[in-house]
């Protein structure tokens, strides 16, 4: 924590000095820092508010029943539906997965959700199909979806005591 603060202080200091003396590489870093921070600020607060609401309103039994140890094939449907509508990327999917874990979702489902959230997001898929072609998108889905479920279940087997780290 303290080390991160020092690191961040050094980083901001470096950006400030770069700006002062018009050091080109430093200014390029400054620009990418601002634009990436901005893209996070646009999404992350909303994501955490929704996660907070999810925490207080959704019953543990509901998540456990659909995504927990006893969940059926339909669980995958829910996980993919949630993944497809997740905005942002891993930086939103990770806290969402942590929220699901707190409500009793099982490891395989968590990893399936994470992987699906990286590759099935709706706006992204529309861009892909438009600019690269629908055939390309279909191949990607058909090949990667079964593989990512397999890989996720393998993760659950490899880490039987897996727990998301974000604890109370």
């Amino acid at each position: 924590m303290k080390r991160n603060l020092v690191l961040f202080g050094l980083f901001v200091g470096f950006l400030g000095v770069s700006w002062r003396v018009q050091f080109q590489p430093g200014m390029a870093i400054f620009h990418s820092f601002v634009s990436f921070s901005w893209s996070l600020i646009k999404v992350v607060p909303c994501a955490f508010i929704i996660i907070g609401l999810f925490d207080v309103w959704i019953k543990r039994e509901t998540v456990e029943k659909h995504l927990g140890e006893g969940s059926k094939m339909l669980g995958y449907f829910w996980v993919f539906a949630l993944a497809a509508t997740t905005v942002g990327g891993l930086f939103v999917a990770l806290p969402v997965a942590a929220a699901l874990a707190r409500k009793g979702a099982r490891t395989g489902m968590l990893f399936t959700y994470l992987a699906a959230a990286t590759i099935t997001r709706v706006p992204m898929t529309i861009f892909e199909a438009t600019f690269v072609g629908i055939k390309f998108t279909i191949i990607r889905f058909v090949v990667s979806l079964p593989l990512l479920i397999l890989a996720s279940e393998a993760m659950a087997k490899l880490f039987p005591h897996f727990q998301m780290q974000e604890k109370e």
Partner: protein, 161 residues
Amino acid sequence: MIVLYIVTGILLVVSWKANATKTRKALKIAWKRFARILPAFGLMVMAVAIVLPLIPPEFIARSLGMNNRWLGMTVGSLLGSISMMPGFIAYPLSGILLSQGVPYMVISAFTTTLMMVGVLSFPLEKQYLGTRPALLRNLMSLLIALLVAVITGFAFGEIAL
């Protein structure tokens, strides 16, 4: 993006009308969780800020346009893994590259790793999943992406048995 604000707003209003105390608690939880993960977010932002200027889109475009498709696929998967780019930039860029004759399998390796493998977001991922699961998730994702790329190559007749 607008949809996200509308949905969040509606949920907040509905929740507030239903139970103000619970809603306050939800906001408190949201803030607590955010504050706890903020240092990891900070690390990720720094990593992205430093690395992205080193690999601008023009550089990626030049690197993917190599003659050898297997080499192109390998380079594509590496660049995709260490880069970070929103879909509305990555896919139009891919479209341009395709029109310049870059094979589909190279584009596939690049865009799929871009989405699935996150070297720059690793500090954040490690925080949530733990080091070993996070490493393994990325490794498996890289393998899946390469497999997708090879099969894409077959499907578009770019490689044959």
